[in-house]
């Protein structure tokens, strides 16, 4: 898919009308991710019920890719078990880093449409912003993430 099509068919929709943006009143956990070099910022709030994400919210601003990716992330995690989400998170990371295999991507469902991001190396961090906040919220509640332009993505995604 070329860049224009990707934006037109997927990104702009989520960018202009991001899903799940109503802040949660009593989140079980939350975390921020910011990419200070460009101002991308996403806060993720989760409501966990017995190992299941029952509610999710994002509050953010930044480039279309960061915001659309975060919005799509909320749709992918809502109602899913944490263990499953970890697998999706890992596979999403692999995909945008240009690693992993087609076969393993099944788990990503609609997110597979973001595959093209892997070619936009400078934008991988934008795409990861919401996901890094999600990871921080789930695994290190409260410790926010800073993605600077040169910061490597979290360990599991080292290439």
């Amino acid at each position: 898919m070329d860049l224009k099509t990707l934006y037109r068919e997927v990104i702009l929709d989520h960018y202009k009308t991001p899903r799940n943006t109503t802040p949660l009143s009593a989140p079980s956990c939350e975390a921020d991710c910011r990419n200070p070099s460009c101002g991308d910022k996403v806060r993720v709030q989760l409501k966990l019920d017995d190992g299941l994400v029952s509610e999710v919210a994002i509050i953010g601003n930044g480039c279309a890719i960061s915001q659309a990716s975060a919005s799509m992330m909320t749709e992918a995690v809502k109602g899913r078990r944490v263990a499953e989400i970890e697998a999706v998170m890992e596979e999403f990371r692999r995909m945008v880093m240009g690693a992993g295999s087609e076969a393993d991507r099944e788990v990503l469902g609609d997110l597979m449409i973001l595959e093209g991001i892997a070619r936009l190396h400078a934008r991988v961090k934008c795409a990861m912003c919401g996901w890094s906040a999600l990871d921080a919220a789930l695994n290190e509640n409260g410790s926010d993430v800073n993605l600077d332009e040169d910061t490597e993505l979290p360990a599991s995604s080292q290439h």
Binding site: L3, K4, P36, S37, C38, G39, A64, I65, C126
Partner: protein
Amino acid sequence: MNSHSPAGSGVSTKYDVARIREDFPALRRTVKGQSLVYFDNTAATLKPQTVIDAITRVYSDFPANVHRGIHQLSEEATEAYEAARLKAANFINAADPDEIVVTLNTTDSLNHVCGSWGEANIGPGDEILTTEMEHHANFVPWQQLCLRKGAKFQVARVLPSGQLDREDFDRKLSERTKLVAVAHVSNVSGVVNPISELAAQAHRVGAVFVADCAQSVPHMPVDVQALGADFVSCSAYKFLAPFGVGLLWGRKAILDAMPPYRTGGNMIHSVSTEKTRFNVAPHKFEAGTPSIADVIGMGAAIDYLQAIGMQAISDYEHELSRYMHEELLKLPGLSIAGDWFPGKPAIASFHLDYAHPHDIAQFLNEEGVAVRSGLHCAEPLHCSLGLSSTTRASLYLYNTHDEIDRLVAAIRTVEEIFA
């Protein structure tokens, strides 16, 4: 306008951009199937063939260490290296080549002043004055020095126009001010600060004045003696030279009185367990093996620029700048950081009210147009002007009116998609 004969053959009395473009191999490449429009010159410039050839010659013929080894290769390298220092001195009109210290980049130059002069001369209660429009390289070192020393870090405001708030500057300059650090040209707004006036003010209160000339030396005639600053920093790779070279000019008497910054080989007179005696400036600041080929390449870049003439380059760029600003400002939803002023350097950091700079840069790249997006290492300025980030087009001597049209057309594709 000066005559142009960079290749040394023939003289033309008009600025022949087509001919200049032939000297830059990167201008022959394509991006996304289109010829490259390179508008990221504030970050780094393309290199003419003569500079590339100069480097190749060093590595093919005399890839030896300098500092007067007695063998032929070292001698050739030393001659060429010192000749380049002389060219740099001449380029910025230093009174003495010994006032030219070769560093890694502007950041390194400013860290020399900070780590050497600053460490030795700044104490509790002292103040350092800089401005909101500085590149981080001329901001963070002073801020950190003040933190270490218990000194006060003063930052003069910029006006909404992007110009320095002179009243605020005057207010914050006092007898306590020991050092004033100001950019000659902002790398975001293109604002040109009146360095000689500001330096005179600083000198009246007994402060040392540092001019960050990273964005002026490449684009206009800069005469450090006329400028009136005590230190001047710039980056050679921003004026057609190889990466790996920055310059620090300092007044001889001040350099002589300063302790060295890095210590080690080549910057010493004698070393024993008890005592080390240092060499004189500039050598006492050039510890270790320098970026020899890059420095020699810088000499070739200066030759190239001087053959065209810095005034001719500046005049040509002013015309490009006028045209770029006129055309950009016709676009709906577009605003530029800092007001236009006559003689504004060819830098436009713009904001589109319908798209984010990262997405803009991405789509401009699709059209073969290279620009930067982000904070351009000038977060305080963006903050002051209320901008989260911008897209910056910055031009140089080889850019053309047609390329500006390509930029404008590319922005229209962004508009089509986003608006």
